[in-house]
Symmetry: C2
Subunit: 239 residues, 2 copies
């Protein structure tokens, strides 16, 4: 474990009682694969014949432009499913990188289609997951397309905060582990890390949020929601 022991964001390094409700296919943990922080699960354009189901840890999905510009299109939390791609090319259009030590269940497409056939429950899980992803992607698109830098950063922080809360309903509401660099935030919001830094400093000086050493502290939740420019109810809808 490279993370501090008291972090939120994982159920620990053991193979303990990992909740089955995080699994697309409950039960089978024979296909589990563990990767270290920073490792790539698969790269952009990799052939795909399997679906990944994150059980523990954080994963970032990203795309690349020819000249190296990068866009993080999604942060995956436990329970998330990725690796399925639209298009007929049989290759992924995005890559997946573990942000922390992570545990994924690898499900081959053959197994998945078989299970979809006989298990309405698996189908429902997958459809729900894909729908959620699409809704999240739409939100990000709106943020990046129509919000300014302050709003984007605040929005992202708020989103991750809310998603973490629901994943790990811990008690330390004011502080949480966020395994990101400012460059990650920039790549997710469509900004440069230099500008992310400026925004973060401003928010810090104003006493809204504090983000140092992968620890996020929400100093003033209400102000944060205000800066993000989201409806109070909308923020709750992420739950």
């Amino acid at each position: 474990m490279t993370q501090p022991a008291d972090r939120l964001g994982g159920s620990g390094s053991g193979d303990g009682p990992v909740a089955d409700e995080l699994r697309l296919l409950p039960g089978s943990r024979s296909t589990d694969r563990k990767v270290e922080a920073g490792q790539e699960l698969f790269g952009v354009g990799a052939p795909f014949d399997a679906v990944y189901n994150l059980i523990d840890g954080w994963v970032a999905l990203y795309t690349l432009l020819e000249d190296g510009r990068r866009q993080i299109v999604q942060f995956v939390l436990p329970g998330g499913v990725f690796g399925m791609c639209g298009g007929s090319s049989g290759r992924t259009t995005y890559g997946a990188q573990a942000l922390t030590e992570a545990l994924v269940s690898v499900v081959s497409l053959a197994v998945l289609t078989a299970r979809l056939r006989d298990s309405p429950d698996v189908t429902a899980r997958l459809v729900r997951s894909l729908s959620r992803d699409r809704a999240l992607a739409f939100d990000h698109l709106t943020s990046v397309g129509r919000r300014n830098a302050r709003e984007r950063v605040a929005c992202l922080i708020l989103e991750l905060f809310v998603r973490c809360r629901t994943q790990w309903p811990g008690n330390r509401i004011e502080e949480m582990y966020l395994p990101l660099t400012q460059e990650h935030i920039g790549d997710a919001t469509g900004l440069t890390f230099v500008h992310v830094n400026r925004v973060l400093r401003a928010l810090r000086k104003e006493g809204v949020v504090e983000f140092h050493h992968r620890r996020l502290r929400i100093l003033d939740p209400d102000r944060l929601v205000g800066v993000a420019g989201v409806d109070h109810n909308a923020a709750m809808a992420w739950l």
Copy 2:
């Protein structure tokens, strides 16, 4: 019909032999609903208990910010499925507006879940559709987050061109009907319509594309791909 008769982009106004492969639920056309161009299918935050399956025409999915800023998150073409939302709120987070006269099949959630249960084929269609949507959303996100105005506009045009081609493999490759205003393009690319106009003028002057009166003419496909900054293969992957 408000569109010229020779447009690409629809199978006509009749109730003729609409291909069943566009339908999530083949056969049942009792639930079809026809809407005029410009009409809203549902607004942002509408309660949803049904899934929409576009059979004919163009639809735009959009989100709104409190102050009126709008982001188009997806252009739906025949065969597309929308109206399913992630989140548990039971309300849509985006609205849907018909860009042309459109024909949609409305499937109640109850019916859908029943069909998912007993028809692997329906399940496969839905999963494929949702996966494709997610991939498209990721592409848009990359565009809006990491490309400049020229690239974004070129990308969008290219994407719509390719998608149209595959929908309606007509013969007039050089010209097609695109039921958008420059403001639509702006709302989809995260730009203002003023700036979209400038970009479009420049591309026109350079002899790359021409877009007037809802007619798009690709003057120089290779240059367009170059301006868009996409890999030649990647462009084909949309097919």
